[in-house]
Amino acid sequence: MSNKADGSNSWSPTEERDVSLKRIMPPAPENELDYKPLDGGWGWMVVVGAHISIGFAYSTPKVLSVFFIDIQEQLGASYSEVAWISSIMLAVMYAGGPVSSLLVNRFGSRPTVILGGLLCGVSMVTASFGNSIVYLYFFIGVIGGCGLSLNLNASLTIISKYFLNKRPIANGLAMAGSPVFLCVLAPANQYLLHMFGWRGSLVILGGLMLNCCVAGALMRPVVLPRKPEKVEERPNLCTKPQQSCRNNAKKFLDLTFFKDRGFVIYLIGNVFFIFGAYAPIVFLSAYAIRQGVEEYSAAYLLSIMGFVDMFVRPGTGLIASSKWIRPRIQYFFGFAMVFNGMCHLLCPLVKCYAYLVAYAIFLGVSFGMVFALIFECLMDLMGNERFPSAVGLVTIIECFPILLGPPTAGYLVDIYKDYKYLFFMCGGVVVTGGLFLLVMNIYYYHMLEKEKPAAVREQNQTKTIENQDLVSASASRKYQSPERSMAGEC
């Protein structure tokens, strides 16, 4: 069936489908790339770059809280006013998704990440001169958040361009950047604070964030072998530049994604997860202290969780790329989500410190599993072409649950004066999301199999012809397939 004459043993969508059980999901049509992704070589350097970039993106809003007490004292603000800095940064990082998608689609990952790194560095250095809290909101929150959002989207996109077979491992390794950088930056920030005060620390943190530019430099654009120009550069080969601009504007917020059932299912499941996932982590030490645990031991719980998370993410990537799990990756994702929710539901039963440590470990495992798969599943659903725009849309919608989740949970604690309702709510919401994903995916793929057996057969035939064309096209320079992908780039 496959026309790959190089004899590689790779998982090919075409092959698996015929051998499968009914439950294996057909990949998105755009997954059939017109080139064979590297799956190694320079790709691993790209993973390092993505690791750094994603690491800064997820951990910076959290580690900034180390400076809050000092900033609060010096600028005369209340704790909640200062905490808004992190929330604004996180919100802008997620809301900037569509803008980031636009830039990635137009210019490619490398310039976007370099720009993101520069923005972050400049924002932190400028913020160090601040004398009012609003100044910090703008420079750290808004500008810094913009820089981070550029980093996030572009890093994920470049992974999807370099990997197909080993993509879950690559995703797992790249997403592991978040706990690694959290564990490294938190004590580093404490040290900087004591040496240089909060102003000097912001300057040096800005310098460290310039390393995202190094990460961007590593993200070498993919060279498609048949074309004389690189795809990621400005589309000089576009014959209709005006139409390309109009298409770009349409792609800014491409609402046609909502017609894709798989996308909508993924989105709903994700919104549920994000709403319930963060609050237990935010309130874990407070809950432990309420159960009578010492302050330092309570803080260790979060460190344990982060440490476990660091190893679970690449591990999950490894498992997910195995022959048995990879075709069923959406179900694995749903299962991971249910596992996470169950952990939260069982937490109120846990009273003593040893069991709390076990809870932290399980939380780290389940959290890592979900986050290793969260973008891999979207890539699997959307394919390379649509992934940048899809991830932009997903992040801007996720902005709302991420901002509403922890305060709602905190409100529950304030009303009932008991943490167990927080865990019940969060666990319930996450389990609902996971079950929704599992059930709806089963239904969705079942319907797909039923609805389009003829279309699939037809697709297989066209694919056979196309593959033959590819081989002859390289010799005779026909541009059929490139034009199809070029239409997407314009």
């Binding site: 064979k36 000097g200 310098g207 081989v471």
Partner: protein, 308 residues
């Protein structure tokens, strides 16, 4: 007129000093109080000891006649008489040595101390024989949340140094600020330098704002919570550094970033030049091949792989 007031005060002092010898209950080593003893309120603290020693913290706000009572259940011997005495700050209180009788299976020591000023505060211990000891630590409310790490600020910048008295402790009458000068403390008066210092007091919090910092402003600052009986101190260290300090690591990191980016891009350029020359050779090869030849697919896929 002022001279006659001074003489009157001196006479009262003399009277009180002579009264000291009549009233055996006043503590010996303390200087004669200016306030008449009988007008002080009275308070009592008692501790019952079962083991060998115990320490009791007593928080005092105002001058008071404090009666301290120690009860000891005794050891195995249960001697009918033992010697008991009082100590203040490690020194034995004059005329405090008494013989304690065993009453109802307990020994009891009781004494009234006049706590009027900072010197009266400290550690008072009742000692039974050579074994049992109960220590009363008399102090004004202490400032609990003491910042142990220094505040770091920059030359020319302003800094806010804050002190807070916990909610659970009584609030002080007012706050004072002092700067350490060698081993001494110099009080900071805003009136003297209104442009440089600002003191903002709330009931339980106080903030000292220092503007236009210089390197000389670094050091220890003390905030004093003023109570009727004494002033308790908390301290915060201020470090003033110049802006060049963080600039040095920052520039080092920027240089590192530039070097790495340049290295990566140069490496890529050299790789692509190599590939380009190889690629050209391969495409020439492919052009000479005829369509549909068996070697076709292998050739193209191997070229594709090499281009990486």
């Amino acid at each position: 007129m002022a001279a006659s007031w001074k003489r009157l005060l001196f006479h009262i002092l003399l009277l009180l000093v002579s009264c000291r010898h009549i009233n055996t209950k006043t503590p010996g080593p303390t200087p004669p109080p200016l306030v008449p003893i009988s007008s002080l309120p009275t308070d009592e603290r008692s501790v019952s000891l079962k083991g060998e020693s115990h320490t009791e913290n007593v928080e005092l706000l105002n001058p008071v006649n404090l009666a301290l009572q120690c009860t000891w259940t005794g050891n195995q011997n249960k001697l009918p008489n033992i010697t008991g005495f009082w100590r203040k700050d490690g020194d034995e209180v004059e005329n405090s040595r008494v013989t304690v009788q065993l009453e109802g299976d307990e020994y009891e020591l009781k004494r009234v101390f006049s706590i009027v000023s900072e010197e009266s505060l400290g550690s008072y211990s009742c000692v039974f024989g050579s074994e049992a000891k109960i220590e009363f630590v008399l102090a004004a409310p202490q400032i609990g949340e003491v910042r142990d790490k220094p505040i770091v600020s920059y030359v020319g910048d302003s800094v806010v140094i804050a002190c807070k008295m916990e909610e659970t402790k009584p609030k002080p009458g007012s706050w004072n600020w002092y700067k350490a000068n060698g081993t001494d403390k110099e009080q900071i008066f805003v009136v003297a330098e209104p442009l440089r210092y600002e003191i903002k007091n709330e009931e339980r919090k106080t903030k000292l704002v220092v503007h236009n910092l210089t390197e000389a402003d670094g050091g220890l600052y003390y905030c004093g919570a003023v109570y009727a009986i004494s002033t308790t101190m908390g301290h915060v260290e201020l470090k003033v550094i110049s802006f060049q300090e963080p600039l040095k690591p920052f520039i080092a990191i920027v240089i590192e970033v530039i070097v790495l980016v340049a290295a990566i891009l140069l490496y890529e350029k050299s790789q692509s030049k190599k590939n380009y020359t190889e690629g050209n050779g391969a495409t020439d090869q492919m052009n000479t091949m005829t369509q549909g030849e068996n070697n076709g697919p292998e050739g193209s896929s191997s070229t594709r792989q090499r281009k990486i």
